[in-house]
């Protein structure tokens, strides 16, 4: 294995600083191909697996005298500080970490080597294929069919093998519509809202170009959608770009649906931030959250100017708009931006959480993420290559998935009883999306995952999360199934900074964790007392 060449020093004496409250921990620091670990001095104590090297976002090294300090800033926003004996050792360790943490190759990454006890390869990978969701849809309506036109990923590399499309449209029409859409992403069903009989679709932008091209199959497809819903149904196209941006996209071959070509459909523009500005917003927010000395005014000023909460607000209210169009206006909704792999997924997945009680359960939420993010082709590898601390010039990074998790967190805060999963689940998803021993978030789309054999050679995160010992952390003890739509407030007064995530590194979370533990205790007490019966000893007659 070529890892050995990258490891300049395998070991060094070091001291881990653990905040002002606790004493530093001394021991031997070891670097392996994927991990950094510390064997504490008294031999009896077990090794401490400090982190997955892939998790390192930036390294800062400082040497003074005959020792050095390394500060590791991680993708999950934690910060680790190590004092290392010896200048050479410090530099070597820093260089080794640098090299090992930035390996690009997918198949040498840790998930391909991770073989935990109690899990079998292949478990839970076939939990959520599109077929499962189709079965749910087919129970309600027969206007849709499962098409395997993309079996060999030839129509669209970022779609899964099977997609749900209107029954009236055949595979050849799909192929032509695919050629008319960015990335081959022709309109497919994302969610069927049974109570209103309406559907949520997603796609890439139409390639109208400066000549305002049209595609009759694409038009037919959308006509079929309305016809399948109910006679006289209307539809809304939610374009996640501003009208100007959509118009400008025509110059580069993209564009947006012309009014005349799609009767019954009405276009709405709801500009959402994406790409580099979103990444910068994330970076600025994390920067502001790292400064404990700043004054009140400075903090509020930075919270405002990073604009992160504005993005949360815009995202939530656009998702509500889509959900409301379906539930209250009885209209079908098609969402797309440019590529249809970022803000589009943000809106479709959030709209489902608002409308669909099933997606708010533990299993349903995992299914939603698998279906609407992983299989829908959100390029996790590109988007999550670096987090907020990296000094590298951002290329394709964007915290779109984090924005989704933040919005879900806001939903959970406003409806604390309606989500089966708790904050712990969202934090875990964030951590695993950026660096994980599991294969679930590897690669950018299904095609790549097939090529790398991710499904057969790595473990699925979902089987990792279903371990009984994880449940207390992940579940919401107060969950009560709620059959209704949950409409959040998107007013600035109702939104809050997600402290559990963004202040991870700066704030001791103990009191709230203790409180959480207390809630668990009360809930389990409740189950216990309800299930209990008079003890045997009490029913025995006294002598």
């Amino acid at each position: 294995m070529e890892f050995a060449e990258l490891i300049r020093t395998g070991q060094a004496q070091a001291e881990l600083l653990r905040g002002p409250e606790e004493p530093p921990l001394r021991g031997t620091l070891c670097i392996t191909g994927h991990h950094l670990l510390l064997s504490p001095e008294p031999q009896a104590t077990p090794d401490l697996w400090l982190l997955l090297l892939r998790n390192v976002d930036s390294i800062e090294k400082r040497v003074a005298g005959d020792s050095g300090t390394i500060t590791l800033r991680c993708k999950d926003l934690r910060v680790l500080q190590l004092d290392i004996d010896g200048v050479e050792a410090t530099l070597d360790i820093a260089r080794s970490i640098e090299a090992l943490s930035s390996l690009e190759s997918v198949i040498t990454s840790f998930p391909f080597f991770y073989r935990p006890k109690g899990l079998r390869l292949g478990d839970a990978w076939h939990f959520h294929p599109p077929e499962c969701y189709y079965k749910r849809v087919a129970r309600e309506t027969n206007a849709w069919r499962l098409s395997e036109a993309n079996e060999d990923f030839s129509l669209c590399p970022s779609y899964p093998r099977a997609v749900i499309v209107p029954r009236a449209v055949d595979d050849s029409a799909l192929a032509r519509s695919a050629r008319f859409r960015q990335g081959g992403r022709f309109p497919v069903l994302s969610y069927y809202h049974a109570p209103s009989g309406t559907v949520l679709l997603r796609a890439g932008q139409p390639l109208t170009g400066p000549q305002k091209r049209r595609c009759s199959e694409d038009e037919e497809l959308l006509r079929g959608v309305l016809a399948g819903a109910r006679p006289g149904a209307r539809g809304f196209i939610v374009d996640t770009r501003s009208p100007q941006a959509a118009k400008q996209a025509r110059m580069t071959g993209g564009g947006t649906e012309a009014k005349a070509a799609y009767p019954g459909w009405k276009r709405l523009h709801r500009p959402l931030e994406r790409g580099r500005p979103l990444q910068e917003s994330f970076v600025h927010l994390v920067e502001a959250c790292g400064d404990v000395e700043q004054s009140m005014d400075r903090w509020l000023n930075r919270l405002e100017s990073c604009r992160w909460l504005s993005h949360v607000k815009e995202t939530l209210s656009t998702a509500c708009l889509a959900a409301q169009s379906m539930e209250q206006e009885g209209a079908c909704v098609l969402v797309h931006g440019a590529d249809g792999t970022d803000s589009t997924l943000l809106i479709t997945s959030l709209a489902q959480l608002i409308l669909d009680p099933l997606s708010r359960t533990m299993a349903g939420f995992q299914e939603l993420i698998e279906r609407e993010w992983i299989q829908a082709g959100h390029p996790f590898q590109l988007r999550c290559a670096h987090s907020a601390f990296s000094h590298a010039r951002p290329k394709h990074e964007a915290p779109t998935f984090l924005l989704f998790l933040d919005c879900v967190w806001q939903l959970g805060r406003q409806f604390p009883l309606s989500l089966e999963f708790g904050e712990g689940m969202l934090l875990a998803l964030f951590d695993h999306a950026y660096a994980s021993p599991f294969g679930t978030f590897l690669c950018n789309n299904e095609k790549e995952r097939c090529l790398c054999e991710v499904r057969t050679r790595t473990h699925s995160l979902w089987s990792g999360l279903s371990q009984p010992k994880e449940q207390r952390k992940l579940r919401n003890p107060l969950y009560v199934p709620n059959p209704l739509a949950i409409w959040p407030s998107a007013e600035p007064q109702s939104l809050r900074l997600w402290q559990g995530l963004f202040l991870r590194g700066t704030r001791p979370p103990e009191p709230s964790e203790v409180a959480w533990e207390k809630v668990w205790q009360i809930v389990t007490d409740q189950e216990k007392t309800e299930g209990s019966q008079p003890t045997d000893s009490a029913s025995e007659p006294r002598p």
Partner: protein, 621 residues
């Protein structure tokens, strides 16, 4: 009643404050001697106490009628549209008169009658006994004694009759010191920390000017530090910004000169004055009352209002105070200008950090009685109970409550009471429904004969205690400890449930607290049930050794628990009709059942479908 020209107006519309469309509820508006009442088509009642009204505004006539905007001191804002301008004008004029009373005797408390007899009322007033509280702290003792110097309010009108001072401070020293202090408010004991033997004392600024000194005052301070055997020096905290204190010197007031007082450590902590606080709140309310507010405008507004900065300043001062006592065992003397605003904030918060007793329901009442009511925080002027000088109004007590709220957020298990308790108290400092907060000092309250003519709030809160309990209270570590809050800026948040208490569309629609509370209660209930049944079985077994009976008994009780659970979950799932949800406004009923309504508001775990506007209305047209 001469002010009421119209008692009833029909077809009045009530607009939602934050709705972007013009959805409204239509109903009837009634004007009573004490309340404004709106009953909508669903028979939903909205009560607004006249004393809660901060301002009434009549906007320009529109096609649908004449708009009337009412802003309340509990941060409720209602927007009516009255069809006829004449009616609107009448109501407007009546409210202007009714909301500003000229005499104490016209306040609601003097006519409010919760159907209690005189004995019960008196008992209510005796519920909180400050002499008992000083005893709990451990005074009088060998170093501190009760002074009778102010028995007839001769030395200081705004202090209570009973004052605790160092044993070695003689009456001439006290009298001399009081002459050297603004409004005669000389240094007295506010809180005594028994195990550290250190004291929190309070006073007003010295009349030092540029060079004046007063030997008696210096002696009194020395007596205070001598009363603390653990530490030689004491802190003197001037809670004002240095510049303000310096400016006061020109007016013959000022601050202690360290050269004249032996063994003091002097410290400014920089809390702004009541005028700055008033305009800060004003700015904050302007920002959060804006329709269609953007996130950026909200945060820049929050920043420029300075509100959270002021909250942090008060908190920092209290922490400094608590640290001096807990870590250094040093006594602290706190003052500002007159020693009844910032001083009350800092002394009470500091004691709250130090002493877990003040974090209980009853202890918190005692704390308010002691540091705020008895030491002469001018509630009537600060809350604008009477038609008086608007420059005297200031949200000093509101800030105190907000600081406590921030503490409950940081230490979720350290307080016996919950947020609803704080909001309820805030409601009543303005309501004038009870006598506690009427008047500006004890002397005035005695002259008004409040204990004979009005009722005390505390017994009513205690009767309803259940609604105000924190189900998470009780972790030993947080319960007994000195709280050391972290005041990094991130920890200060906009208190939505205070400032948008009545804006239902901004609320989270499910409350965790009540669910946990219910569960906790059920656990306790079920446990006692089990114990009861077990003892019943025992008894029966003793009577007859027939084993079958106990089995029967067992079976007969088992079905109970699932039934209980079913009722619980049913309650949570009660669905509201879609239209009903816009009944955003709901409020204080005339009688004391205001609490119950309020708590219901909070507890409704309604997963309701709420019609919010995300832009559909605009796009469909």
């Amino acid at each position: 009643m001469e002010h009421i020209r119209t008692t009833k107006v029909e077809q009045v519309k009530l607009l939602d404050r934050f709705s972007t469309s013009n959805k409204s509820l239509t109903g009837t508006l009634y004007l009573t001697a004490t309340h404004l009442l709106f009953i909508d088509a669903h028979q939903k009642e909205t009560w607004i106490l006249h004393h809660h009204i901060a301002s009434v505004e009549k906007l320009a006539l529109t096609t649908s009628g004449c708009p009337l905007v009412i802003q309340c001191k509990n941060f409720r804002t209602v927007h009516f549209i009255v069809p006829r301008e004449r009616d609107c004008h009448d109501i407007y004029n009546s409210l202007l008169q009714l909301s500003k009373q000229a005499k104490y005797e016209d306040l609601y408390a003097f006519s409010y009658n919760p159907k209690q007899n005189d004995a019960e009322r008196l008992q209510g007033w005796e519920l909180i006994d400050l002499a008992e509280e000083y005893q709990r702290m451990g005074v009088p003792n060998s170093n501190w004694q009760l002074s009778d110097a102010n028995r007839d309010y001769k030395i200081c009108e705004t202090y209570p009759r009973e004052l605790y001072v160092p044993r070695i401070a003689s009456k001439p020293i006290i009298v001399g010191s009081s002459k050297f202090r603004s409004k005669g408010r000389f240094p007295v004991l506010s809180y005594y920390h028994q195990s550290k033997e250190a004291a929190i004392c309070r006073c007003s600024q010295p009349l030092s000017g540029f060079s004046a000194r007063c030997l008696e005052d210096e002696h009194l301070l020395q007596a205070i530090s001598k009363a603390n055997p653990a530490n030689r020096y004491m802190y003197v905290m001037d809670t004002r910004p240095r510049l303000n204190a310096m400016a006061n010197r020109a007016a013959g007031k000022g601050y202690e000169n360290e050269d004249n007082y032996s063994n003091i450590r002097f410290q400014f902590v920089g809390i702004e004055n009541i005028h700055v606080m008033r305009s800060s709140l004003q700015k904050l309310l302007e920002v959060n009352g804006t329709k269609g507010l953007s996130v950026n405008d909200f945060y820049s507004g929050l920043e420029s209002s300075g509100w959270l900065r002021h909250i942090k300043a008060v908190m920092d001062a209290a922490i400094f105070l608590a640290k001096a006592i807990a870590a250094e065992s040093a006594s602290v003397l706190v003052h500002c200008s007159d020693g009844w605003d910032r001083t009350s904030q800092v002394c009470s918060l500091g004691s709250l950090l130090l002493d877990p007793y003040y974090r209980t329901v009853r202890g918190f009442m005692v704390l308010i009685e002691k540091d705020w009511i008895s030491f002469g925080h001018k509630f009537s002027e600060r809350c604008g109970h009477l038609d008086g000088d608007p420059k005297e109004v200031s949200p000093v007590f509101t800030q105190f409550l907000e600081c406590v709220w921030h503490l409950t957020e940081q230490f979720p298990q350290a307080f016996e009471f919950n947020e609803a308790f704080l909001l309820q108290i805030h409601e009543h400092i303005h309501s004038c429904q009870f006598g506690n907060f009427i008047g500006n000092c004890q002397k005035e309250r005695e002259e008004l004969k409040l204990k004979e003519k009005t009722y005390s709030l505390w017994p009513f809160l205690l009767d309803d205690q259940k609604k105000y309990l924190n189900p998470l209270y009780g972790s030993q570590s947080q319960k007994s400890a000195v709280l050391e809050p972290n005041t990094v800026s991130f920890n200060f948040k906009f208190w939505r449930n205070m400032f948008h208490q009545f804006d239902r569309t901004l609320h989270p629609r499910q409350s965790v607290f009540n669910i946990i509370m219910n569960m906790n209660e059920q656990n306790k209930q079920l446990e006692t049930d089990i114990k009861d049944l077990e003892s019943q079985i025992k008894q029966r077994k003793n009577k007859q050794t027939d084993g079958i009976l106990s089995k029967e008994l067992l079976n007969s009780v088992r079905p109970e628990s699932p039934a209980l659970k079913a009722t619980l979950s049913l309650k949570e799932q009660t669905l509201l009709p879609v239209n009903d949800v816009l009944r955003t406004i709901e409020g204080s009923s005339p009688a004391d059942n205001r609490y119950s309504e309020y708590a219901d508001e909070f507890s409704k775990a309604e997963p309701a479908v709420v019609s919010l506007e995300y832009g559909v209305a605009r796009m469909t047209c």
